[in-house]
């Protein structure tokens, strides 16, 4: 049998980047526990639209936990209370009837709020633009297996590459740092031979861009690791630190 719960929501409402925001309280009844968190907000938005009010703006896309578009801070935890889960994959069965849920946008100096729960995360894109790529000359296609890579290394690179760039690490970091994101992006390329030619410039320019965007420094508190919906380890931050040190000591 389908069970339903009643909820009180406290949601951050903000008209635009310049407006002062505040919390609004909403009551939702008969929410199916099989719903995802975003579906629950959809129900709220239907209700708000019927009442002639402005629906809550939030980012979402694939709704299957792989695109990195969604995300909000639920009761103080980025992507909500479930480990290694994006907001869209969080289900209402995790909540009890009568719960009050506080929903806030991902906050960081580098993530300006656009509207309600919608934040501008293009700072992460600019970090990628600064060096999160490999340059490949045009010409004949190289055979895929011409450069041998060990399974272990490939797995490590894949673990780092599973970052979906959602920004939960930034949102959860007590210091608003994008170290886990940048670390994963640097690690995935530095682990593979294709990423080696540009590794020194890459580490330096990506870190420089990260600082320029207003992200904080890493205070080694490990909070990002647990907020990450993909379970990316801070080992990648250590790898970035090594890459960065090498780039400064030995780079051109």
């Amino acid at each position: 049998m389908m069970s339903t719960i009643d909820l009180t929501l406290k949601i951050w409402r903000q008209k635009n980047s310049d407006a002062l925001g505040d919390f609004e309280t909403y009551i939702l009844r008969d929410i199916s526990t099989d719903m995802s968190f975003l579906e629950m907000i959809d129900v709220l938005n239907e209700q708000l639209t019927r009442e002639g009010k402005e629906p809550v703006a939030f980012d979402h896309d694939c709704r299957e936990g792989i695109c990195g578009a969604c995300g909000a801070v639920v009761d103080g935890v980025a992507h909500g209370p479930d480990l290694e889960t994006t907001l869209c994959q969080l289900h209402m069965r995790k909540f009890k009837s009568g719960d009050t849920i506080v929903i806030e946008p991902f906050r960081s100096i580098a993530f300006p709020i656009k509207k309600d729960l919608l934040v501008d995360r293009s700072a992460l894109d600019r970090i990628i633009q600064a060096g999160g790529f490999v340059s490949v000359n045009t010409g004949g296609t190289v055979d895929g297996n011409s450069i041998p890579v060990s399974t272990e290394t490939a797995e490590l690179a894949m673990d780092a590459a599973s970052c979906i760039g959602c920004g939960a690490c930034v949102a959860s970091c007590p210091n608003g740092a994008a170290m886990l994101f940048t670390g994963a992006k640097i690690a995935q390329l530095s682990l593979l031979p294709q990423g080696h030619p540009e590794r020194k410039e890459r580490a330096r320019s990506m870190v420089t861009q990260m600082d320029k965007e207003g992200f904080g420094y890493c205070s080694n508190e490990k909070e990002c690791e647990l907020a990450c919906p993909k379970g990316i380890s801070i080992r990648n931050i250590a790898r970035m630190n090594r890459e960065f040190l090498k780039s400064f000591l030995l780079g051109e």
Binding site: S108, N175, T208, D211, S219
Partner: protein
């Protein structure tokens, strides 16, 4: 200059903290070795002190170097502290998934305490040392005072707390994080501060409890 642009970056600052931290830690290790001579009696401690100060030029040069390293640690630490002030506390509901250690939360404060302690300590045993009193006797004289000893013990506890986060944080900043060594690192980050706490903190207790009767 490359060092200036290095220190301007977030990771650069952390690396300065880690490097100066490591150097300060090595100083502590040598200092602990010398002070452990106290447990062997005043004679041996005096021998160590006389031996050390038999190289006045080296002591001066290394002391000056130590001061520089210390100032770098404090200076960059302060920069990071004030930078952090700007970004903290931004959610209505404050929760932590990882209940983070008391040590990491209090780094700047334990650090500040150690700073005050060092001023007192250096003036007591170095600049403000009364003429003609042997250092082995001076130690006994100071630590027979209850509040003086208490101040030292509290400071060593602050140091142990500071090192508890500092040790692993330093290794993480250097990029030392590997499943093979992480178990060892998490043991050492408790063991290393405890060893310092036992050696240094034991000294005032040694004199306070009267176990130093034969000193």
């Amino acid at each position: 200059m490359w060092f200036l642009s290095f220190i301007k970056t977030s990771i650069g600052k952390k690396l300065v903290m880690a490097t100066s931290g490591l150097l300060l830690l090595s100083f502590l290790a040598i200092h602990a070795f010398g002070n452990a001579a106290i447990y062997m009696g005043s004679k041996y401690f005096q021998i160590y002190a006389d031996f050390l100060h038999g190289f006045p030029v080296l002591v001066l040069i290394f002391g000056f170097g130590l001061l520089l390293i210390f100032l770098a640690h404090v200076g960059v630490g302060l920069l990071l502290f004030f930078e952090k002030r700007k970004t903290s506390s931004r959610y209505d509901v404050e929760t932590r998934v990882v209940e983070n250690t008391f040590a990491s939360r209090t780094m700047p404060y334990t650090g500040a305490w150690i700073f005050v302690f060092l001023i007192v300590h250096v003036f007591a045993f170095n600049f403000g040392k009364p003429e003609g009193v042997k250092v082995s006797m001076l130690v006994q004289q100071y630590f027979s005072g209850f509040f003086y000893s208490l101040f030292y013990i509290i400071s060593f506890i602050a140091l142990a707390i500071h090192l508890n986060h500092g040790f692993w944080s330093m290794l993480q900043t250097f990029g030392l994080n590997h499943p093979r060594y992480n178990k060892l690192i998490s043991t050492l980050t408790v063991a290393v501060p405890l060893i310092f706490l036992v050696i240094f903190g034991g000294i005032p207790i040694y004199f306070m409890t009267g176990s130093a009767a034969g000193y």
